[in-house]
């Protein structure tokens, strides 16, 4: 392969639109949370979440509920695994790749809460540390709009 090793294959617009639509619209709880995807690449996924009163977790402070953080980090890890699986099968059509995601399941999830989540908008990142033939291990970050790290996560997925 003549490309530099850090140059990943880019996804076709068709695949990006299909996977983003699945994630944002056809997974009802992601839609309820308002989680949106901004960048979908083989090496990782970036999304964002807008603060809304229903997502508050503390009646005195205007803090995001910790459960919103764990739920959205889990979702980001899942779509990062889908992107990594998609990148491994670029010889297939986007539609064929989309059919591969039916077997995906979360094995477990850990979230470390670093700082109170206060703000208008939050940025989420998910990346796959290792995609094996059976298990994928992921790492996630939840930051505020200024880039301050508010929570980190890791999750394991069964992939086949």
């Amino acid at each position: 392969m003549s490309a530099p090793p850090d140059l990943e294959p880019a996804f076709e617009a068709e695949f990006v639109v299909a996977l983003t639509t699945l994630f944002e619209q056809r997974i009802p709880f992601n839609h309820l949370l308002g989680l949106r995807i901004d960048t979908l690449a083989p090496g990782g996924v970036i999304g964002h979440l807008a603060m809304r009163p229903e997502l508050i977790g503390h009646y005195l402070h205007q803090r995001l509920h910790g459960g919103v953080i764990s739920a959205t980090l889990d979702a980001m890890a899942g779509i990062a695994v889908m992107a990594a699986i998609g990148a491994r099968h670029m010889d297939e059509t986007p539609a064929e790749r989309m059919r591969r995601f039916g077997k995906l399941g979360t094995i477990d999830l850990r979230v470390d809460y670093l700082r109170p989540a206060v703000g208008e908008r939050f940025v989420l990142r998910g990346e796959v540390l290792r995609l094996g033939s059976r298990v994928a291990t992921t790492r996630m970050e939840f930051s505020d709009a200024a880039g301050r790290l508010l929570a980190t996560g890791s999750a394991a997925y069964i992939v086949s």
Copy 2:
């Protein structure tokens, strides 16, 4: 104290109502999820969650989103810690005890997903394994209506 050591002090109705109302009504994200408390005792808390279309996580199957499980287990662990703190301060009025919960914060959370969460109604349990002067460690379970264990969790909290 003449009571046997395994007989826990029971909470007054005033405290149970105040804490349940705080949890179900005044924490907006718990309200959005529809998480309800059924039993609130010093040794642990039991609640339930009704399935709703917005909580689905998989567009093909009618499965609960994994993020709903992590969010509700986190919430159950939090109220279990509040109950354990309340039980340690039964010499205070219920209102005084309620004021102790402002400093509570989740340090981290782990969830193990055992089986797909399918059903009309789910049962959640939270208990405190150890309440120290600084840290509380909790264990949680998420089951279906038939008592089948679907997920387990553990979480650590800072309490003062």
Copy 3:
């Protein structure tokens, strides 16, 4: 099968000896730690560990190193998974069952430290919460000789 559903098949002495010997003698790091198996049953495994000066983790106190706890809980979860796999294949000879353990691998591990581990002897338990066709989820406990819970753990394993 006419036996009540909660009556587990008992292992033959040959299998118990083979698996215990593998665990205690042929896994060098378990031998270095001095981890011993006392009960090996399909539903769970119980073992113990004797305190030794080399296992201390704090130069001022005589506490067991946290890493001894995580290492032994990981090991106990692994043998609990082996027992659960063995119980599923009682139609095979003990030797055939022993050959099934080559593919086993830890996906991840979590340990919650509840209390300082001080004492002469510690008791460890491992049980499998769910053995699937691909993943096993386990729960572990680390106690002192008086039965006081010092640490808990959970771990996921790939099994095939």
Copy 4:
């Protein structure tokens, strides 16, 4: 402060020697494992571990025991927290800073195992994601000599 923000205060040799000696020599289980510190800085700690037959975890393969990985990652996180606490108190003498470490305790630990640990020498890194007044959250990595990531970890510590 006129120094660039990424220029951390460097530790005095006296502090580096004292903390390294404590870690490698006066914590018996670290000594048993053979865990060594190579770099000790406010922003993180790097160490290494040499493979030895007693550290093997699988009788068929020459793989490091998963428990060695969890134990050494826990230890690396602990010394990274000590370094971060030390960096916050550079106005104190090295001896005064050393006395601050008595209250440190691991709350919990997670390890994700990515690849089999085979090799002659392993490299470990620990860094503090956030040092609060009560809790420190850490992230760790375990790699082979070629820099291939074999395991990652996260741990929470109580610091006062």
